[in-house]
Symmetry: C2
Subunit: 233 residues, 2 copies
């Protein structure tokens, strides 16, 4: 069994942002979330990644990093593993195979047994990740489900990640994508900010990812989303 | 065990080309080759594909098709399966995920249990496939091996296909790619025209693909390449 198969809820911590004053990553791990992913789109540096990873040493849930580029793959024994984004609907192949080839070419320390791809479908063109990857977000429900099926069936992907980054997505699209999958795990991210939004997306996605909320509202708000997704299961 | 795991030699028949006058696809199946793949890059139509597939009904080895686009995926009980190219170093994502998404969206008859991707690395920029896919062929040995490793480790690919289409490749590149793979099968295609070239590449690749030779020189020449690759094993 892969670690993410029993994750209902994940908090993504952006090393380029801060937590609220009196809150630590250890507190984040106590919210009821199932894992912490360290990663962000803009302003990533090895130094920022390393600082958050080191702060995660006493966290009670698994900690993974999600590098956004070749320079920020930090190897650390504080980590449970590496989640590597591949963007199925990117505007160019850098985000699918290009940067990955460069990384594999240069990094002799890759531990494939703890390194797992995530097949992103990026759905908000105005988000940082949408702009950076020049993703084709002009997709209907069938397009999104087809990308998910291609990812699972042709590219052997075990994680399909619908990323609405910064906005709440269309629940019916999440449902139809879930229906198109065989055994892959469906991650949903974007706009989860309270019990209701977590409940709504938690009905269809296997795993809800909460990002901005932990930086903007703090751990009590995160707890509400944990409750929402658990009640949906 | 997947069907290709014991293939040393494959003949690829291009539906846009003819066999020599007195030769049939059934004869091709008697050369000692392990399988026939039906597919080509240019001038493909459903009609041409269907004509060759129907002619393969009495062939003694497995027959697969390799569609070059969404319109030529012919479903037939004469086939053992479907090999779907994904081009790791393509110039745009159409050849990686784009056309595949369109196909999956439109085709309700896909039998995933008989449908398998092939991860191409296209290495001759002047070939039809190189031009069509706008592949980045300016790659050294480490680049090619890294693409192969990405294909196997991140994209779950069981077939890595070094495609020199129309020219004999650099044997040391084939060897270093083979060394970078864990359990995936390495196909080699391009410029195999006699015993020596088959022997040379057969030392490193798991499977040698012969294409133009069957159309230009016929089955006796194909038999020589079968001998070459068998002696190399």
């Amino acid at each position: 069994m892969q670690p993410w198969e029993d994750w209902d809820h994940v908090v993504k911590i952006d090393p380029d942002k801060t937590l609220l004053n009196d809150e630590s990553v250890t507190d984040v791990g106590e919210t009821g979330t199932d894992a912490i992913i360290v990663g962000g789109t803009m302003g990533m540096t090895e130094e920022k990644m390393t600082r958050v990873i080191e702060a995660c040493r006493n966290v009670s849930v698994p900690v993974f990093i999600e590098p956004s580029g070749t320079g920020v793959v930090v190897h650390s024994d504080a980590l449970d593993g590496y989640l590597i984004p591949v963007v199925m609907n990117a505007g160019d192949i850098s985000w699918l195979t290009g940067m990955h080839k460069e990384w594999v070419r240069l990094d002799d320390s890759i531990d494939w047994t703890h390194t797992f791809p995530e097949a992103y479908v990026v759905l908000n063109p105005d988000s940082s990740v949408g702009e950076l990857t020049a993703a084709d977000c002009d997709l209907d429900s069938d397009d999104i489900a087809a990308y998910a099926e291609v990812a699972e069936q042709l590219f052997g992907q075990s994680i399909i990640y619908l990323e609405y980054s910064g906005m709440l997505g269309e629940p019916s699209f999440v449902k139809s994508t879930a229906d198109a999958l065989d055994s892959a795990t469906l991650f949903y991210g974007g706009g989860i900010h309270d019990y209701d939004s977590a409940y709504e997306m938690g009905q269809y996605a296997d795993t809800i990812i909460v990002g901005d909320l932990v930086h903007d509202e703090g751990i009590e708000a995160v707890r509400e989303t944990v409750r929402g997704v658990h009640d949906a299961k």
